[in-house]
């Protein structure tokens, strides 16, 4: 029994290592002004080159390990965001990029806002792993730091996001 446990813990640790070393991100815009999106694309340029850390932009949420969500989450986009979250293969992390995604920013209480991104995601999955990177827009350095902090907070025990006890991972760039 102990041998089995030992092996499974080794496999868990290897999986966690590979999850941290190879993060494929899918970019979702839920009504952003395009400023955060430009900064996200900036991450892939030679200056920041996040491929050094194994971070790669992918074209389909099925391939993604992390959703980079920008924008306030408008009523139109909220349903799509929930659908994209459901389609993402678990385990996955949701990153709220920018002031709007973290807490609706200057659009707080506006008629078209369905709430900050974390509320929208939690309607689908109450135990989702959500990280916040504030800023308008956040600097690319802050984004990299947010990703690093969120990943280092992952524990070997957690296998799927849905099995996790609700506890948010907060990445503060400051």
């Amino acid at each position: 029994m102990s041998i089995v446990n030992h092996q499974s813990s080794i496999i868990n640790r290897l999986q966690l290592w590979s999850l941290k070393k190879s993060v494929w991100v899918f970019h979702v815009n839920t009504g952003a002004c395009n400023n955060c999106d430009i900064e996200i694309v900036n991450l892939l340029t030679p200056k920041f080159d996040v491929e050094r850390f194994g971070i790669k932009l992918v074209g389909s949420p099925r391939h993604a390990d992390a959703l980079l969500v920008t924008g306030v989450g408008t009523r139109q986009a909220a349903k799509c965001l929930q659908e994209v979250y459901r389609q993402t293969a678990k385990p996955c992390v949701v990153f709220c990029m920018g002031a709007c995604a973290c807490g609706t920013g200057i659009f707080e209480g506006a008629y078209h806002v369905a709430g900050p991104v974390d509320n929208i995601i939690r309607e689908v999955d109450p135990n989702a792993i959500i990280a916040y990177v504030p800023g308008c827009p956040p600097k690319p350095q802050a984004m990299i730091m947010g990703v690093v902090k969120a990943l280092s907070a992952l524990q070997p025990k957690e296998k799927y996001a849905t099995e996790r006890v609700g506890q948010t991972v907060v990445a503060d760039p400051g």
């Binding site: 290897l14 290592w17 190879s22 080159d49 391939h63 799927y160």
Partner: protein
């Protein structure tokens, strides 16, 4: 019994599964690293492909509601086994272990990954995947003709050189380097572009273009099934450049220092493919078809005539 065991160890361990996989993962790292260097980036560390595959193995497998489940799950395995057999066969051909008709089998096995990709993506029931599958199908129609014509040139060039009593096979072809003649060089360039399309690299990555059809043929695959596709692509990075080396560049000699020269040829072909990948934009499907049929087809018709003339008059450089 021992023969069966030896065959099994060929397929599973030495030139087959384990060896090809290791070389393939290294080659796919090389692709990303050289691409990064071309773009003045640092690029991923050497263990990156391993980490990618291990991560995908641990992820959830999602199968769409509308998918034809059996085909959807079995298609990656079919493509994977096709590339595995191709690679084993090519390594055995470099070791002079061969049989009659292996050229035809090699052509057949090279179509298998594309065929599996078309089957798998059609079975997923996604409209994006359907667009990707139709593009892949047209691309296969486009590049198969020039590839077969290029092989025809090689066969014409080497048929006269085969010793009496010897069969015309990959091992016999790999003893000559047709690239050192005009027609052989033309055929090599066209075959290199066909390999580019087979690998699904820019400028012929039309089927899985990420910006237009969101990874196209691969869109619905996740977890371990996606990992099998990735492994298949990694192994194609071994098998297809090796095919070019065996057919056009005189093969790999497995003894002594000439082994290094053989590995050098393989790396040369791989780097050529990567550089073409990094210096070209993606073409449309109609442009790709026109390119392969009109331009490559015409060039190869000329090459076939040159090779026949050269063979008839005994001029080796034609």
């Amino acid at each position: 019994m021992t023969d069966a065991l030896q065959d099994l160890s060929w397929i599973l361990i030495f030139p087959g599964f384990v060896f090809t996989l290791a070389v393939g993962l290294l080659a796919s790292w090389l692709v990303r690293k050289v691409s990064a260097l071309v773009q003045y980036r640092v690029g991923p560390p050497v263990y990156q492909p391993v980490a990618d595959v291990m991560k995908l193995m641990g992820k959830e497998i999602l199968i769409p509601q509308d998918a034809q489940r059996t085909v959807f799950v079995l298609a990656p395995l079919a493509g994977f086994s096709g590339v595995l057999l191709l690679s084993t066969m090519l390594w055995l051909a470099t070791a002079r272990i061969t049989y009659v008709g292996d050229i035809v089998v090699a052509i057949y096995l090279m179509v298998l990954p594309s065929l599996a990709l078309i089957l798998g993506s059609s079975a997923s029931g996604s409209p994006h995947a359907a667009v990707g599958a139709s593009r892949e199908m047209k691309l296969v129609l486009g590049y198969e003709l020039p590839l077969v014509l290029a092989l025809l040139v090689v066969i014409i060039k080497t048929a006269g050189l085969v010793e009496p009593g010897e069969q015309l096979s990959l091992a016999a072809i790999s003893r000559h380097a047709p690239v050192l003649s005009i027609s052989g060089l033309l055929a090599f360039i066209v075959a290199l572009l066909c390999v580019q399309a087979k690998l699904g690299f820019v400028p012929f990555d039309i089927a899985e273009s990420e910006t237009e059809v969101a990874s196209g043929v691969m869109i619905e695959y996740s977890g371990a099934l996606l990992a099998v596709w990735r492994l298949m692509q990694a192994m194609m990075l071994v098998a297809l450049p090796l095919f070019l080396v065996v057919v056009f560049l005189g093969g790999i000699d497995l003894s002594g220092w000439s082994l290094l020269w053989g590995i050098g040829k393989y790396v040369l072909v791989l780097v050529l493919v990567i550089l073409i990948k990094n210096t070209n934009p993606r073409v449309r499907i109609d442009q790709a078809m026109r390119f392969f049929w009109h331009y490559c087809g015409t060039a190869l018709a000329a090459a076939v005539i040159l090779a026949m003339v050269g063979n008839y008059y005994g001029i080796a450089w034609l």
